[in-house]
């Protein structure tokens, strides 16, 4: 596997491999010198057409801790604004000699298009509404870490709440959690669900309160205010009343239930401020684990030195 564009590229075994690898990188990250030479001499370019300081830094830190060289391209400083095409931009970066490109774009499918143009390994850091595989991996890792078991997923009840329709985090998480054997329920008003759930391994509920008591993990998605203008729901207040994780709702979860959010949060909308600080909230740990999980992904994709020569030798 040379690229990670979607969770299905990994399969259940691949996901588990990444999670176990991440354990080792958590250990590395806790050392006084949190660095290993595994990707020394490799170059990793982060090419973000959509702003996201947090995810970009997480990837760059991961690459640096593996001793790789990094190259950063972000849209505000780029020539894309001068009319340079997507293909030209990507080929220019690749021409500088890179081993991997981490791509984020507001249009779904861009990583697939890019992978047809350049030779490097591609990691999808978020493409439109479609997928954000490393987010799902770090979410699975955080659950595994919190429950203290190597494989806590079979039968685990996960509820993903919010704007599923426009959420790449939701799509990747549905793929990842269900591949590992968890039972996923989507909770949203009908207008925020995809037009068709044919083939999705999920159950659906429009009623968050009905689902709360039987959930092991509640995963809250950010609701964007702009969606109000598309007649998807009338007001944030009404959304929050029906689907917000209030202090009161958090109280009705089972004692062992976990609360998650990919960030950034709209406090007071999909999640109450006090809930983020509860002991069963994993939100901070999700961020921390991002680096180790991304190190695991980079190592898995690039960690076989001179692999192409080995291919020739074995042929």
């Amino acid at each position: 596997m040379t690229s990670l564009l979607a969770i299905e590229d990994l399969g259940a075994d691949g996901i588990r491999e990444v999670l176990r690898l991440a354990d080792s990188f958590v250990e590395v990250s806790e050392r006084a010198i949190p660095r290993v030479p595994a990707l020394r001499g490799r170059t990793v370019a982060t090419v973000f057409f959509e702003d996201s300081t947090r995810t970009r830094l997480s990837f760059e830190t991961a690459a640096k801790r593996l001793s790789a060289d990094t190259m950063t391209f972000s849209v505000s400083t780029s020539s894309v604004n001068k009319g340079e095409s997507l293909r030209d931009t990507v080929e220019t970066v690749a021409a500088m000699g890179i081993d991997a490109m981490i791509v984020r774009h507001r249009s779904a499918g861009v990583p697939w298009q890019v992978s047809r143009w350049i030779d490097a390994s591609i990691i999808n850091a978020g493409d439109g509404w479609h997928e954000h595989p490393t987010q799902a991996l770090l979410d699975c890792y955080t659950v595994r870490q919190a429950l203290g078991l190597d494989d806590p997923f079979p039968g685990l009840r996960v509820a993903i709440v919010g704007d599923i329709k426009h959420s790449r985090v939701a799509r990747s998480n549905v793929a990842a959690f269900s591949a590992l054997g968890a039972r996923v329920t989507l909770v949203a008003p009908p207008t925020l669900l995809p037009p068709s759930l044919e083939g999705w391994p999920v159950e659906v509920s429009y009623d968050l309160d009905a689902v709360l008591a039987e959930t092991d993990v509640v995963y809250l998605l950010r609701i964007q205010a702009e969606r109000m203008n598309e007649a998807l729901f009338p007001t944030l207040r009404e959304y929050s009343a029906l689907y917000g994780m209030t202090r009161e709702r958090a109280g009705r979860l089972c004692a062992s239930a976990l609360i998650m959010h990919p960030g950034p949060m709209n406090r007071g909308v999909e999640i109450a401020a006090e809930v983020t600080a509860l002991p069963n909230s994993l939100i901070t740990r999700q961020v921390t684990n991002g680096v180790a999980v991304r190190m695991a992904v980079l190592f898995r994709l690039l960690g076989a030195p001179e692999a192409s020569e080995a291919l020739v030798a074995h042929a």
Partner: protein
């Protein structure tokens, strides 16, 4: 010009099918038959093993000139058409400036004078195709325009569409509609459904097309106007048109080769070459469109040849313009999907009808195109080889653009020669100029 002799083919036209040679002198067919011989000095073209039929007529081509010559011109588009067996093209009016006045009609007719296909012009229904005011339909009809459409978009305002149908009644013309409810389709990139949900892309539901089909059938009934539906793509649309025709309404319809061949799953690799309006739909829709063509509910195959530059089609999927080139592959694709192989869906004669005399009638070009291959009629002919297998290579195409969804596909059926007004413009698959 020397006599032209098409030797040894099977002539297929509206009168039937027969083994016959064809003699062409001074732009006209002079005789056909098995026992005839070529005159002295005649240019002989081998039609053995091939089908000699009327030159194909495309109701729906985007020649991009004026305004987007980088993607295509009247000249390059006509060459592409000729290589695809076409002798007549109806140029769509979404050019820049749009074809909404006599002046632009004249400009395009002028550009088409020297081209390899006869270029007829479709005028816009509304000024600027903006959907607000009627364009000067009579003025354009005076210049020979027989088909009017705002294609690229549908006329959203029901009252305006009604007025257009009424106003067009005495002009002997046909209004053609690109059925797409702009509000329901807003922001869409593909068909809405299982695939768009999986791929995380905004889609337009079948209803975006069907609501306008429903409305326009009602308006056609109300006004008695003649209406042609462009590129039908859904099972619901086909059913409604079938019912309307059964009631005797003056309605015709076309479908594209790509809607006969492909479905929404083609978008799985996010390749903008599969992005088109109306979008590729479900298996069920495709089956209904094929059935509709076989049953005659859909009268004609029209390419909706929509060239776009490579840069345009390399943009992210949601930004890339919709459209596919199709002139050079239309007959081959339709033949491969519908007539070749085991269990063909329709006889070859019906396919030829759908690409020659029926679109010629709808376009008002039947005096010169699509007609029976017999003495006295203009020689606009096509010779194609129904068994030839070839692989689609967009780099080898005559069109200026390369956005074909059939890249790399193996097709059965290939144009051998195209004769335009008695002149061989394509010989053995090569354009002669």
């Amino acid at each position: 010009m020397p006599e032209l002799f098409l030797a040894g083919g099977t002539v297929l036209d509206a009168t039937g099918s027969r083994r016959a040679h064809v003699r062409v002198i001074d732009g006209l067919v002079v005789e056909t038959g098995e026992g005839i011989g070529a005159g002295a000095g005649a240019q002989v073209l081998d039609a053995s093993g091939g089908v000699v039929c009327p030159g194909l007529v495309d109701l729906h081509t985007h020649l991009r000139q004026p305004g987007n010559e980088e993607a295509e011109t009247v000249e390059s588009g006509s060459r592409a058409g000729a290589l695809g067996g076409y002798t007549a093209l109806v140029a769509m009016p979404n050019t820049d400036p749009p074809i909404d006045s006599a002046a632009v009609v004249r400009q395009i007719l002028e550009l088409g004078r020297a081209s390899l296909c006869e270029v007829a012009v479709a005028g816009a229904i509304t000024v600027g195709r903006a959907g607000e005011r009627l364009a000067p339909l009579a003025e354009m009809a005076e210049m020979g325009v027989r088909l009017f459409t705002d294609d690229g978009a549908g006329v959203q305002d029901g009252r305006l569409m009604r007025r257009a149908l009424e106003y067009a009644l005495p002009l002997g013309v046909t209004l053609a509609q690109h059925c797409e409810d702009a509000a329901l389709a807003a922001g869409s990139v593909m068909n809405e459904g299982e695939w768009s949900s999986r791929l995380g892309l905004p889609g337009q539901p079948a209803e975006a097309e069907e609501l306008m089909v429903m409305r326009d059938i009602a308006l056609a009934r109300m006004t008695g106007g003649r209406l042609h539906f462009l590129h039908l793509s859904t099972a619901g649309s086909v059913a409604m048109v079938g019912a309307a025709k059964a009631q005797g309404l003056a309605i015709t319809a076309e479908a594209t080769p790509h809607h006969l061949a492909l479905t929404e799953s083609c978008l799985s690799g996010y390749d903008p070459n599969f992005k088109v309006n109306p979008p590729l739909r479900t298996d069920r829709d495709r089956a209904a469109v094929r059935r509709g063509l076989a049953d005659g509910i859909i009268d004609a195959i029209a390419t909706d040849h929509a060239p776009h530059t490579q840069e345009a089609k390399e943009m992210p999927l949601d930004q890339a313009p919709p459209g596919m080139v199709g002139l050079e592959t239309a007959l081959a694709v339709a033949h491969t999907e519908l007539c070749a192989g085991e269990g063909p869906l329709m006889p070859l004669a019906d396919l030829v009808a759908a690409m020659t005399w029926r679109p010629a009638a709808i376009a008002g070009l039947h005096a010169r195109h699509g007609g029976p291959i017999e003495a006295g009629r203009p020689a606009n002919l096509c010779v194609f080889d129904p068994t030839a297998r070839w692989r689609v290579d967009p780099e080898a195409m005559a069109s200026r653009s390369r956005n074909s969804p059939f890249r790399g596909r193996e097709l059965t059926g290939r144009i051998r020669h195209t004769i335009r007004a008695g002149q061989p413009v394509v010989i053995d698959g090569q354009a002669q100029r």
